[in-house]
Amino acid sequence: MAIKYLKADALPALLEALAKNARVVAPFKRDGVVQFEPWQSGKDVELDVLLAKQSPKEWVFPQCETYLKFGYRMEEPAQGATAGTATGAEGEAIGGEGAAAVAAGAEPAIPHETVEVEALNEAPAQVIFGLRPCDARGFVQMDQVFGGYGGFYFDPLYNSRRAVTTLLAVTCRDPRSTCFCTALGGCPAGQEGVDALFTQVEGGFVVEPLTEKGEAVVGTAGGDLGDATEAQAAEANAVKAEATGKVDVPFALEGIRDHLHDNIDDPGWHDLCMRCISCGTCTYVCPNCYCFSINDELVESEGERYRVWDNCFNPLYTEETSGHNPRAQKSNRFRNRFSHKFWYYPDKYDSLLCTGCGRCIMHCPTRIDIREVLRIMGAAPGAAAERAATTAVTPAATGAPTGAPAPTDGKEA
């Protein structure tokens, strides 16, 4: 597919054109906080800040989604029907095992309550612009669980939206020190899940349509998108190469799954989770933590059932009615998140559940570092203990960016 060039000042016009047929979502800064929000004419897309606080996950998998509405109604019974079979379309007598049941229900016909149930599924066409390749890859990884891969259930709520979502990613020019996409097989200019990749070059973007959806975007832009010159394409390639070189590789992925398995009872989990406060920040900023809860609300006779993000750090997440909690200890819950991403999920779906965006490190109230966790618990048993000791003394042992000042010691009083 032909490589295109879009002048920076033509971006609003492109988004405007896209917004005619779809909801356009992009990162915007509001009160100093960058989040993905619906685009409106006149709003400036924020691309200087590398990562929005949260990934754009919620636009395909909303934090809260009502999927059933129901209402209880009083209904007069059909003439001659019994309470037990009044609503059934068939009126034939039931024999054998069921006879006792019918006898029990065979009371005089009286008005009875019935319930109307309606399934909801909103899926407006949408374009997400300005997400990063790691965010796009997050969707691809989540597609496994929601798509029914590996012989499991197909989730119509997620997939209906996913099918009508176009992902226009922007190459990361300046990866952060918390980025580690390349360690997981990603890249600041990664194409996985991306419909068209925008790379910022002098004066604008080099645009690479990668899928039919991406081509459609090029079609929408019309005259604003010219062919990129060779120099522009070369510049984009240089930007990508330079960015890729800036991403740290804090651990070797190979063997992590097996080592997590072998270290399952290692006391290192306990030590690492000490500073965890059991909140859900890491999971809610994550591009592919997808666990959720389901709740009902009923007001008078009208109600709804909705699913809402939940997280495995919440002590109530697994607590059973009896009060028994299979993951009562914080260390159990802590272990679950990392093991899920690098062991359970890969075993089930042949895919990691982490793209290396680093948001969980950036936003954790106590800056728990997934790289550190994997370096220690993803190391061979024995080596784990050794690495834990090393890490305790020099927390910034790896991941220190080139050119960053040396860590300073505590100051004098």
Binding site: E97, G147, G151, S293, T318
Partner: protein
Amino acid sequence: MAAQGNGSNGGIGAAKTRLTRGDVAAGATIARAGKLAGNPYLPEVATVLEIIDETPTIKTFRLRFDDPEVQKNFSFAPGQVGQLGIFGVGEATFAISSKPSEKEFIQFSVMKAGEVTKALHNLSVGDKVGVRAPMGNGFPVEAWKGKRILYVLGGIGSAALKATIEYTLEHRADYAGITILYGATHPTNFTYWYDVKEWQKRDDIELVLTIDRDCEGWQCDVGLVPSVLERMAPSPENTIAITCGPPIMIKFALISFEKLGFTPEQTYTTLEKRMKCGIGICGRCNVGPKYVCVDGPVFSLAELKELPDEL
């Protein structure tokens, strides 16, 4: 009874309820898949036909799907579960305790414990509920043909094994022997007492009933299930041992099986976890890499030993 479960991921009733990777690659759509796969979150509305007071805290609900097609086509494998819920209160997972051959109703037994079960206990005949079933893997009853089956159950654990017991009793000739050891705290706490009395009449099975402490008029065994089990000392040879009951009973029953020489491969139990979606997505019922709702609830002890200590 339609296709039998075999304990693996594919072991499920006649309705096609899951898409495989191949199905998705071949462009499977909602219309092509079974009803549950079309929108696995959408419950089928069912009506309460009959409510049986089993014990002071357990009620059995016999339900009939409002859609006659659904009722007609409904089938499940012994050991499979379903999500039973009340619209406006919520859903919870229960074992399907009707006989797999039962075509007229679907049955769940519910112990009063939390919000959903309390609301279920307040139901009357004719009330509406939502059911998503069948789910989970079920017991590999096909693979067990020719073996002796030893059931060890206590309290509400009987609900999880009821369908399987009834299935093997109906197919008695397929199995070399059937032994049922059933314990309760008190004679009033046996569920399915009306069926237990039928079992007592059969001379082709061994039935041992026990209560924790002796009480007037009781004529069967007395003692905790694991100790009665050790006294019975069943031979592990060509035998499958299945246990379900309160967690503490399961724990000690498993220890007794081991003492009696049962290998982890021939010992089975069913797990209970807090579940929400029931379809392997929402994430909370995992024990390590296994999801109890889709990979279970039936596990062999050999499988459990591979999992983290999060039961």
